[in-house]
Symmetry: C2
Subunit: 410 residues, 2 copies
């Protein structure tokens, strides 16, 4: 059977999540397949942010820390994310960036395993994860050991203090088995940190049930929280009384407004806070998370699999002549919501696609990465992406100096 | 001569900065004396933020990292702050919170003085400064030594790696002598970090000329950047090639989009970055800083002195019977833009003032703190504050259970 537009339209007609797309302001005519890098704008954000600026800041001023609920926003928004990742109430908090949070969590993990000196990761993890882990290791006389992804489970031995791993690879979209690897880490007496940046909002996560110790993640990808939206930390209740990190900011104090000289860390998830959070960005994230209201994450996961399966089928059907190789798993059970294609000219191809209104992104050295955010992507968008990609390749539209010239950010 | 409202009106009529207040949306009837905690809303913010949300995020989406200038916003906004604190171009960057930035700077300072193990501060500094310095010290086998403010200069000896000091005390508004203390630190081979959170936007700062090594500060007080606005770091050029901190996030890499496995820190001020910044909050800060366009900081400083001198004169004139003692320096040369009054009932008095439309804040255990942000405060506001305070005291309006009951944030 040939997959055509009509087939994709039928899939949209039967999609139980189809109406959720209306919660977003998506530019006319754009096929946006980069929600895994920056999610689309939820319609609720503009009004909520205008209220935060004009009423809460402008009129309420300092009183809004109490009266508008700014003070407990990190906990409140944390609980909204907690629902999406299968975490118990009061085990997730919004704070800082993923990088800073990973620093806190890895530092705290090493302190909980003082007789062990190895942070174990995988090569090819997202750079900031590797860089931060390296920085933590250097500052605490530990070492970062990076192994090939397929060798990870066997590399967890009783020298490992903590395993640090992004659950869904930013390059390939491969999904690591959270339950299996967590179990293995615990069998060896190690702790584990999962980075859920490419998981939350697209997988049916059960971080609590997995028994994992920690998780971190960002707010601006599938959670649609806006550019550079604040990040979050999950902390398993078993560590609430003992977890300590060195970023002792005033909001991580038991009683910040006592202005005490001694630092007494807040118990539980509140202790993860450091400085004052960026409220406007946090309010935008809170409004954005409302797009998940009433959404069954099992349906989200199923749609992510269906969208990416469809795109791969279209690549197989229509793009065989152009030298792409699939850089994502073919089995949707171990694939997130993205499809990565390797091609020597991926940079220019990506630019040409953008020129035709199909936005994906490039990841060095040779990956064309297309993300299929289930709340905002239709099956006809998948069809159009494949169709335009075929046109770009067949007409060599990518082969111009304009598209080959690198920009600062891609 | 009795100071009356007419006198204050005359001062406003001759104030060269009077028209700047029109750049802000200030609630009718409110006497807001807490711009040292959360600055007023600049009128430019709403429109700029709406554009960032609806056009840049909503329509431009990921492309706005390049096309809307998000990517270089930390540097661009850093340079705007640089002008206000007397820093050379490309020596200031906006990033993270003050707490996180102080962690980076103190960690980096200790690494630059590997043979020294003392961080020197003062007791009664803002809590987060003490807490963060303690956390850095513990994680690097150093010690935090806190001395009485008046003993600071003599305590700088050749064991001190770095002096960490808030230039203007959050409690008293006392100003430390930046040039003198910096010179003393350097004579003893120590480095110095100034926290400018209560200085920037109100003093006529020359951080570059002072020779100081580092500075940090927040964006939400006198800079009017909004609740939890991103913070900033100043790094003297002499450290641009050698300063290293352990928060190695991807945006502090020489070439973030190379996605290299090895962390190669960016040279200069860019190396201070860690994770992805909260763009919406950063855009609000950028718009807010426009309120300083064309404003001579010498006039700002002079007005801060005049406003606080006036308030102290009114306290002397009208409030002698009510048991207040001045907790700020009487000499305006060593006083920031705030006046602190000590009183055993400060908490309830502060609440009663707020009930009458005069907003200041309380700082434990007994300080009523009134901030006189020069861009937004009129001399008649000072008069009204003193008048209402007299009414609150004369009528014992503060003495109710409602006003005595503590809120989470004050």
């Amino acid at each position: 059977m040939t997959i055509d537009r009509k087939h994709c339209e039928a899939l949209d007609a039967h999609d139980p999540l189809a109406s959720i797309r209306e919660r977003f302001a998506i530019p006319d005519g754009l096929t946006y397949l980069d929600g895994n890098s920056l999610g689309c704008l939820p319609r609720s954000v503009s009004g909520r942010l205008a209220k935060a600026v004009e009423q809460e800041w402008g009129q309420g001023l300092i009183r809004s820390w109490n009266d508008a609920g700014w003070y407990r926003a990190p906990q409140r928004v944390g609980n909204m994310i907690g629902r999406l990742i299968g975490a118990a109430p009061d085990t997730v908090i919004v704070a800082d960036s993923t990088s800073v949070n990973l620093f806190k969590v890895l530092s705290g993990a090493l302190a909980l395993r003082p007789d062990r000196k190895v942070i174990l990761g995988v090569s090819g993890d997202f750079p900031t994860n590797t860089y931060i882990a390296g920085g933590v290791a250097r500052s605490r006389n530990a070492v970062l050991k990076s192994v090939d992804a397929d060798a990870l489970v066997d590399a967890i031995d009783d020298h490992v203090a903590v395993v640090s791993l992004t659950q869904v690879s930013y390059r390939s979209g491969r999904v690591f088995d959270m339950n299996l690897i967590t179990k293995r880490a615990h069998e060896k007496g190690a702790l584990i940190v999962w980075d859920l940046s490419h998981s939350a909002g697209v997988l049916d996560l059960q971080i609590g049930d997995s028994g994992a110790d920690f998780a971190v993640g960002c707010g601006y990808k599938y959670l649609n929280g806006g550019p550079g939206a604040p990040a979050y930390v999950y902390l398993h209740p078993r560590h609430h009384a003992t977890f300590r990190h060195p970023l002792n900011g005033w909001l991580g104090h038991q009683d910040p407004f006592a202005f005490a000289e001694d630092f007494r860390p807040a118990m539980g998830i509140d202790g993860v806070l450091a400085g004052t959070p960026p409220i406007l960005s946090l309010v935008a994230l809170e409004a954005a998370l409302g797009t998940f209201d009433g959404v069954d994450m099992r349906l989200v996961r199923a749609k992510a699999q269906a969208l990416t399966d469809l795109f791969i089928a279209l690549v197989d059907q229509d793009l065989g002549a152009f030298g792409f190789s699939l850089a994502s798993p073919r089995d949707s059970a171990v694939r997130g919501a993205q499809v990565s294609l390797a091609h020597p000219e991926s940079y220019a191809i990506c630019q040409a696609l953008i020129g035709q209104g199909v936005v994906g992104d490039f990841r060095a050295p040779d990956i064309l990465r297309l993300g299929f955010s289930p709340l905002t992507t239709r099956f006809v968008d998948v069809f159009r992406a494949a169709e335009v990609l075929r046109q770009v390749m067949a007409g060599r539209l990518w082969d111009t100096p304009t598209f080959r010239q690198r920009k600062a950010v891609t």
